[in-house]
Symmetry: C2
Subunit: 221 residues, 2 copies
């Protein structure tokens, strides 16, 4: 049962990973419909036809790419210290997503491509990962609320989607293009404005709820 895979099998797997890496990068750079299989094949250095030995269609390839990414996010979330307050874990995870985007180019939201979206719903692994992430984050939000670190006058969905949207927010590219701030500063700005907003809070009491010093906490992970 636990035979170690043959050389050819490992080579095959390595190539599949390379395809996923390329797809991940190109999805982030060009988006789903502008990314062609020629691009992928060229970047990996294989023939276009060979891609179909790994994935039956472009949509399936994209779905597998998104699934891998989502699973990594779940993994990252699971790895965060459970001792830390939930609010800090939420911040840290958002910061991690943003730094991932800066590093490799991360696919945008499924909603940008209606065709892809339906394909994702067929992909069981994607749905599983999505549900796992959703369950975990919902629990974190509840916990952060109970700690008094999150507003309790907003529906949980509003809070979750707001964080989710910020992780894909083009503000990142715009600020980067401006060239006036470091990557770490940009991440701090984005995490901070997501949680604290851009409006000035009236006279914060010193050291009360942990909303202060928000930028630094994004580095927690």
């Amino acid at each position: 049962m636990t035979d170690r895979p043959s050389f050819k099998a490992r080579q095959f797997q390595a190539r599949e990973d390379a395809i996923l890496d390329a797809a991940n990068r190109l999805l982030g750079e060009k988006g789903y419909d502008l990314m062609s299989l020629d691009d992928i094949a060229a970047e990996v250095g294989i023939a276009k036809g060979s891609v179909y030995k790994h994935f039956p269609s472009k949509e399936a390839l994209a779905a597998a790419t998104m699934t891998r990414l989502l699973n990594r996010t779940v993994e990252e979330a699971r790895g965060l210290p459970t001792a830390a307050p939930a609010i800090d874990r939420l911040r840290a995870l958002l910061g991690w997503c943003l730094r991932e985007r800066m590093a490799g180019g991360v696919p945008r939201l499924p909603s940008t491509s209606p065709g892809l979206q339906s394909s994702l719903l067929d992909h069981l692994g994607y749905l599983d990962a999505m549900e796992a992430l959703d369950t975990m984050l919902t629990a974190w939000v509840d916990e952060a609320r109970a700690d008094g670190a999150l507003r309790d006058d907003l529906p949980v969905a509003v809070v979750l989607f707001t964080i989710y949207a910020r992780s894909c927010d083009p503000t990142l590219e715009f600020l980067r293009a401006a060239g006036e701030w470091s990557d770490d500063e940009i991440v701090a700005f984005m995490v901070d404005t997501c949680f604290a907003g851009i409006g000035k809070a009236p006279a914060p009491a010193a050291g009360s709820t942990g909303v202060e010093a928000s930028g630094a906490v994004a580095q927690l992970g």
Copy 2:
């Protein structure tokens, strides 16, 4: 000089508006590269070839559509009561953008389609409108800051892009799909969380800076 246009000329203009309307809706629904000229022609009820009598290319059509939309936004901004505090005008404009999206489907950010982006930069009218909007909103942000209604520890660009990004934020569609809130509630949530954030502000002093009662103000326009 001020001859009123002939019947044929007005008919031509009306058709051009119809083309722009269709392009506006379809860009919002499918995005640039999934929108075909067949779709446009079908929706307007004319032949595909006829579109080229109005616009020399698909990119030019898209650029004209985006320009019209941007000009309308500038117009809306100019029409807001100058007597109102700058922070309320910012809120109102964001609310207007979100309600426009709900009504007609508004094209997403240019950044979603690299090919289109370069075309926009060639389109002089687009750049003019963009600069006009940017100038006006920068002034508003400065004003709102001076009023103490916006954080002054953030760069202006961070504030502006955060608002801009929220106007295109897919959270709108997600909340709508959930079907639990009215359109007005969703707009209020999104404007409110943009300015006030999702974190709970520590012990707000009553009636101090106008950050409270945030949702309702979005209806100001």
